[in-house]
């Protein structure tokens, strides 16, 4: 059997998200339309124009992270260590029983250990260099999560870290599939984010794309005529990807059958954005026709021109209203490095249970958005194939095609 014919299947999911910790808590919140967005509690947001965000409720790092590692790592890595443990347990995988060089870790990071970094800069400038933590160098940098998961589970294969902002969660799963095809048995992948600290929020404000709403139910309205930007969130998902030939078939959520990445032309170019052709490339990679796709998990930034461009790309590929579309991240906010990985987790649960979750908050589609956005309540129907779309700040564009077992 040639290497390239190996199939990558997702066998385990670990969710740490504003919608809940654990797969069941998250999925129940999604189906119930219960939002994880609320007033920021991690610091006093009253002096900032954005005061709402999706925070992970009740996360206790002492439950998720070995005691010794807590001061050595940022909250973003705490989430990932907890989620990785949960994903491995969900997959029923014992890493000590797999060949060490055939296990790899590839995670997405959008901005590294933002809060840890702010704390250490504060200590440096309030005091002197000797106050900076010995762990700053390995807590702040973007590779911290991958390194810590690799060490914790003895995974000595080809590890990686991709930074493509919100598209990262799909890009790392594309790389996970590459590694499975090249001979790895298990790849721990996905991403998390935790940049809800004063400096992190301030940096996000500079895009001008965040919503200033104080109404948690109306703050983030993908594709809505009244869309006013998105809200930030924290958390994400870690998944285990395995070679179908050696994975436990009873644990499979589905296969990664297609993936593509593209990039928008430079500002001012007359060329079209990358999204439409990226979806087409992913479908071609999967050997699927648009008519065979049962649901699209959209990026849905709720920035009017981005929503319109995305709706037009989806319509161009699938036909106007040609496929059910949903944006469950309306319940969590955008999770940056964790966002697309959580969308993949949600899409796999959707395929498993035959239900498209609805997009909460959106009431009336913006003019020109000719898509079948699932609203008001979940839509039950047999599902086989899902497309997940993600875009990252600056022009990153990725699409992943999933198929249920």
């Amino acid at each position: 059997m040639s290497e390239s014919s190996r199939t990558a299947v997702v066998t385990g999911i670990g969710v740490v998200a504003p919608t809940g910790i654990g797969n069941d808590a998250h999925w129940q919140s999604v189906l119930a339309g219960k939002t994880g967005i609320g007033r920021i509690s991690r610091f006093d947001p009253s002096s900032y124009p954005v005061r709402l965000a999706g925070e992970v409720p009740g996360f206790e790092e002492h439950d998720a992270v070995p005691y010794r590692l807590i001061p050595q790592t940022d909250r973003w890595t705490h989430f990932a260590l907890g989620a990785a443990d949960a994903a491995l347990a969900d997959a029923g995988v014992d890493p000590t029983r797999l060949p060490e060089y055939e296990m790899a870790v590839v995670t997405a990071s959008s901005s590294g250990g933002t809060e840890f970094g702010q704390h250490e800069m504060e200590r440096l400038y309030l005091n002197d260099p000797s106050w900076v933590s010995a762990y700053q160098s390995v807590a702040w940098f973007y590779a911290a999560t991958t390194g810590q998961i690799s060490i914790r589970h003895g995974m000595r294969g080809p590890c990686g870290v991709l930074c493509t902002e919100q598209a990262g969660g799909l890009d790392v799963l594309g790389d996970a599939r590459r590694l499975i095809r090249a001979g790895s048995q298990l790849v721990v992948s996905g991403g998390t984010d935790a940049s809800l600290c004063p400096y992190g929020l301030t940096a996000q404000l500079s895009t001008g794309h965040l919503s200033n709403s104080d109404d948690a139910s109306r703050g983030y309205l993908p594709f809505d005529a009244e869309a006013s930007g998105y809200l930030p969130g924290e958390g994400g998902a870690i998944l285990t990807v395995q070679d179908a030939a050696t994975a436990d078939p009873d644990r499979s959520y589905g296969s990664i059958i297609g993936y593509a990445a593209g990039f928008d032309p430079p500002p001012g170019s007359a060329r079209p954005p990358a999204l439409g052709r990226t979806i087409e490339h992913a479908l071609a990679d999967a050997g699927k026709q648009p008519s065979e796709v049962d649901v699209v998990f959209a990026d849905g930034s709720a920035v009017a021109e981005q929503d319109l461009a995305e709706a037009q790309a989806i319509s161009a590929v699938f036909g106007p209203g040609g496929v059910p579309v949903t944006v469950p991240k309306a319940l969590t906010g955008r999770l940056y490095g964790g966002g697309a990985a959580l969308d993949v987790a949600t899409a796999l649960m959707s395929l498993r249970d035959g239900v498209v979750p609805h997009t909460v908050g959106t009431c009336r589609l913006a003019p020109g958005c000719d898509i079948d956005l699932v609203l008001d309540q979940p839509r039950y129907r047999p599902l086989r194939t899902a497309v997940v779309v993600a875009r990252g700040h600056g022009g990153f564009t990725s699409a992943l095609v999933l198929e249920r077992p």
């Binding site: 870790v105 590294g112 800069m121 260099p129 700053q136 940098f141 590779a143 930074c163 996000q204």
Partner: protein
């Protein structure tokens, strides 16, 4: 069977002591060092006050005022490199589908320097935890996400194919080149701009490495502070820089009559799963990465002609990789020259891997091994031929370059001489 192969056809360099490919090669083969006392910030309070700095003026290097204002120093380095690499390659991008052109850029710490500068502004010089958002520059988010560096490179060549920022600490540069080559090999892209950039010289970075005593404190003799494999070494010297290269599918490059510096014959990475900063003395996982890279290149260890070492100048690293070379190459490790260009241009974290690949490509083309500067008394535990002090003419078909970094990552790339029939 896929018969695609990947070659390097253009090189751009911004390095300490050398802006541009030719000045870079001159520096490396002269054995001069570009390490000095830090001038980019007031370093008096730090344990290590040495760095390999670049005298860089973005405007003089061809960037517009808008680009200089918008981009972190690391982004400026990378865009200057891309423009040199593209011109060097002679490639006309106009004839290529932009969707087949991609970017694989490495960086360990992204736009750290700008993030720190802006933090000082927003926090009243660091006095406030709740920062004043109203003082934020319009592109602050671009500094927070390192992916911006890849965005700038993509814009500069209008790439619309796969674009990513690879950030695996100090192996970022090798891993980014590896990923760029992989995308061409598998047929996802035809042209990749691959390399890395880092501009980490700032108070917070220096404080990080002071705290773990990783950097040299030989402050009284900065020109000779980076001493890989020398018994008197006392840590690495922080540097900055970038290299970006044009990677092409070999058949297409030959068809257009391109100059080919080298072929990327094989690459692999492994992790030690041991410690975020520590290394075991046995070099086991680096040896495994070397073996896997040679296997991918379908080459026997006995044909390696030169090893470009990680050679950071910490005792732990130098012994670790010496053991790895012996483990992976056996007797051959004693017969081939091994050198560390970090002795001259310091350790620019994620960027250095790309600068080392560029050095190897030039070494293959010109059949000269760059030396290890400042190597006067070998560490008795390091008993290979480290090419001390002066460059050496040497016949080479196959070069191995390796990297090792925080997180436990170990990477290896095998480069082949252009025109060699050997894969």
């Amino acid at each position: 069977m896929n018969d695609r192969r990947v070659v390097i056809t253009g090189i751009g360099v911004v390095a300490p002591g050398a802006i541009g490919k030719e000045p870079y090669w001159d520096l490396l083969t002269s054995g001069r060092t570009a390490t000095r006392s830090i001038t980019q910030f007031e370093a008096g309070a730090f344990r290590s006050r040495i760095a390999a700095e670049i005298d860089f003026d973005g405007t003089a290097a061809g960037l517009s005022h808008q680009e200089v204002r918008r981009m972190d120093r690391a982004g400026q380095f990378a865009v200057v490199c891309v423009r040199e690499a593209l011109a060097d390659s002679g490639l006309e991008l106009g004839g290529i589908d932009p969707g087949r052109i991609g970017v694989s850029l490495g960086s360990a710490v992204g736009c750290t320097t700008s993030l720190e500068d802006e933090y000082r502004v927003l926090s009243d010089s660091g006095k406030r935890w709740l920062v004043d958002h109203s003082y934020g520059v319009p592109h602050l988010y671009g500094h927070m996400v390192p992916s911006t560096l890849a965005v700038e490179v993509a814009w500069s060549v209008a790439a619309e194919g796969p674009v990513a920022l690879v950030s695996t600490g100090c192996t970022s540069g090798l891993d980014a080149v590896m990923r760029g080559a992989q995308l061409i090999l598998e047929g996802t892209a035809d042209v990749m701009f691959a390399g890395a950039t880092d501009a980490p010289l700032s108070p917070i970075t220096s404080a990080c490495f002071d705290a773990i005593r990783a950097t040299s404190s030989n402050n009284s003799d900065p020109e000779h502070a980076s001493r890989p494999f020398d018994a008197q070494r006392d840590g690495f010297v922080l540097g900055e820089g970038s290299s970006v290269m044009v990677l092409e599918e070999r058949t297409a490059a030959l068809a257009r009559g391109a100059q080919i510096y080298a072929e990327i014959s094989g690459a692999a990475s492994r992790s030690n799963a041991y410690h975020m900063t520590g290394l075991k003395p046995d070099g086991r996982e680096m040896a495994e990465a070397i073996t896997a890279a040679l296997t991918a290149a379908e080459l026997d260890p006995s044909v390696v002609d030169y090893i470009n070492a990680h050679g950071s100048g910490t005792q732990q690293n130098d012994r670790h990789e010496t053991a790895a070379f012996k483990r992976a190459l056996g007797q051959r490790a004693y017969d081939v020259p091994v050198s560390s260009i970090k002795s001259m241009i310091g350790h620019s974290l994620g960027a250095i891997g790309s600068l080392e690949v560029a050095a190897c490509a030039l070494a293959l083309e010109r059949q000269v091994v760059p030396p290890t500067a400042n190597l006067h008394n070998k560490d008795p535990e390091c008993d290979l031929d480290y090419v001390p002090l002066t460059a050496r003419e040497h016949s080479m078909d196959v070069i191995l370059t390796v990297g090792s970094g925080f997180g436990g990552f170990q990477s290896a790339i095998v480069l082949g001489r252009a025109g060699s029939t050997r894969r």
